[in-house]
């Protein structure tokens, strides 16, 4: 690994200034679990790392208009254990719990996870399903973008030069809203997922006459960015007993995906797995909806 200069700005404005001064030669350092791998492999060869560790309160989690605002430097283990987050966004909590392994989660941050923009990462799939937004700042001004628009491509985000991600705004899951996060690893448990799927919906009625409404399904890991499945509304409300329509839903999911062949599976295989996850997720939503 080539050596680099390390800066510790004390404020967001200083950090953005350092980014502007060093341009392409600078990279932000959050938890470092992904960045250090890229440094070791020589995929990034920065002259300067701008460390965010000493900017106060950048890891704070606070209540914000109907949801939570999570500081970019909040570490995943801390978020997993955060009582307010567990209550407000159980879907995000479920996804965080499956990221890498506990050593990674002890160090990795939610902001870093999003900015690294690896399509296999778990949190983005859940965040898109929850309609979460990112807060981007350049030290003077800030702007807000849906996570779905922040992630552009493999390791590419909508961050402009001299801008950094300050926080993530996660809307509160409403009462009666049920959710499920599923991932399938094709090789072994600790490996990158082959397919991820997040579902949020509301289930009405009493078992066995349950119906699912307002369903939002997002599939991750298959394409450069999480895919929000379109055309679901036409299938709603979806009755639990309507096997044919449940199958149509799974087919709708599979038809919209454009996976590629790689070590985690062939495109055909991944599409089938996405269908399986969609069927399982729906069953899970109904089960949660049936619980008193």
């Amino acid at each position: 690994m080539r050596d680099f200069e390390l800066l510790y700005p004390a404020t967001i404005a200083e950090a953005c200034q350092a980014l502007r001064r060093h341009g392409e030669g600078a990279r932000l350092l959050a938890g470092g679990t992904s960045l250090v791998q890229f440094l070791k492999e020589g995929m990034y060869v920065p002259e300067v790392l701008v460390a965010l560790q000493r900017i106060p309160a950048l890891d704070a989690v606070v209540a914000a208009d109907g949801g939570l605002r999570i500081g970019a430097m909040a570490r995943l283990t801390d978020l997993e254990r955060h009582a307010a987050l567990r209550q407000a966004a159980p879907l995000l909590r479920a996804a965080l719990h499956l990221v890498g392994n506990v050593r990674v989660r002890n160090v990795a941050t939610l902001g870093g996870n999003l900015c690294h923009a690896d399509p296999h990462a778990d949190p983005p799939t859940a965040l898109v399903a929850l309609r979460a937004e990112v807060v981007l700042g350049d030290g003077a001004q800030s702007r807000q973008l849906p996570v779905a628009e922040f992630l552009l491509d493999y390791y590419e985000t909508a961050l402009r030069p001299g801008e950094l991600l300050q926080g993530i705004i996660v809307p509160r899951q409403e009462r009666g809203q049920v959710s499920v996060y599923r991932r399938f690893t094709a090789v072994s448990e600790e490996d990158w997922p082959c397919v991820t799927l997040a579902a949020v919906g509301s289930v009405r009625g009493r078992a066995p006459n349950l119906a699912c409404a307002a369903l939002r399904l997002v599939v991750g890991a298959l394409e450069p960015r999480p895919r929000l499945i379109a055309g679901i509304d036409e299938l709603l409300p979806l009755e639990a007993g309507d096997a044919a329509r449940r199958e149509t839903l799974a087919e709708t999911v599979m038809a919209q995906l454009a996976p590629v062949d790689d070590l985690l599976g062939s495109a055909w295989y991944k599409r089938q797995i996405a269908g399986v996850l969609a069927r399982e997720a729906l069953a899970d939503l109904f089960q949660q909806g049936a619980a008193p």
Binding site: D3, V36, Q37, V102, R103, V104, V107, E189, D191
Partner: protein
């Protein structure tokens, strides 16, 4: 065919030599960090790019943590920094400035093994032993912080440690067996070894 045998003393001497080969100018620019390792205050001069695993091994002679996969999956480099397990092969040493670090060498009190080490021994929770320091550090961290973890929780916690000899059942049973005995002070160093290369 002869196989060159690994000689720890020679390895350390070589590391020392490469360290001395760094120019004075280079060393003047390197940050000095202060940290507590296994209860002992240490001052180290490192590069910004020095990994914690290498600082521990090459400068302090603590070779229990080893870099194997290099990407945070296998857990062979697991150490505890400020009461949390981390992959020391993905940690920049310079960020450990001011930290409290516990390595496998700090588990025993010098004469007696740590209770979890003893449990591993009794359960036969290893074959080649390469992964053992990592599993011990993960096990200690889990048992010291989780209250009465279920078998599923223990499995989930240990998912990031690989044993290629597949001693998983024995490792799991050793950790589960120590649930009752564990306490938060397991994260405190107990003296143990603090090996150091010759000056």
């Amino acid at each position: 065919m002869s196989t060159a045998q690994f000689d720890p003393a020679r390895y350390k001497a070589e590391q020392r030599q490469s360290w001395n080969a760094a120019s004075q100018h280079e060393r003047d620019r390197m940050p000095e960090i202060r940290l507590t390792v296994n209860g002992r205050q240490e001052r180290l001069t490192v590069k910004n790019s020095t990994l914690l695993v290498n600082a521990l091994r090459d400068q302090l002679g603590l070779t229990g943590a080893r870099e194997a996969c290099g990407v945070g999956i296998c857990g062979a480099c697991t150490v505890i920094v400020n009461r949390r397990t981390v992959s020391s092969c993905l940690s920049l040493a310079v960020l450990a400035d001011g930290a409290e670090v516990l390595t496998v060498e700090g588990l025993s009190d010098g004469d007696r093994l740590h209770p979890l080490q003893q449990a591993f021994l009794e359960a036969g929770a290893f074959q080649c032993g390469y992964c053992t320091p990592g599993f011990l550090m993960s096990g200690v961290a889990l048992l010291a912080t989780a209250e009465d973890p279920s078998e599923e929780e223990v499995r989930h916690f240990l998912v990031g440690n690989l044993c290629r000899c597949t001693s998983y059942q024995e490792i799991l049973s050793a950790v589960m067996k120590m649930k009752e005995q564990a306490s938060p002070d397991w994260l405190q160093p107990r003296g143990g070894l603090s090996a150091r290369p010759p000056a």
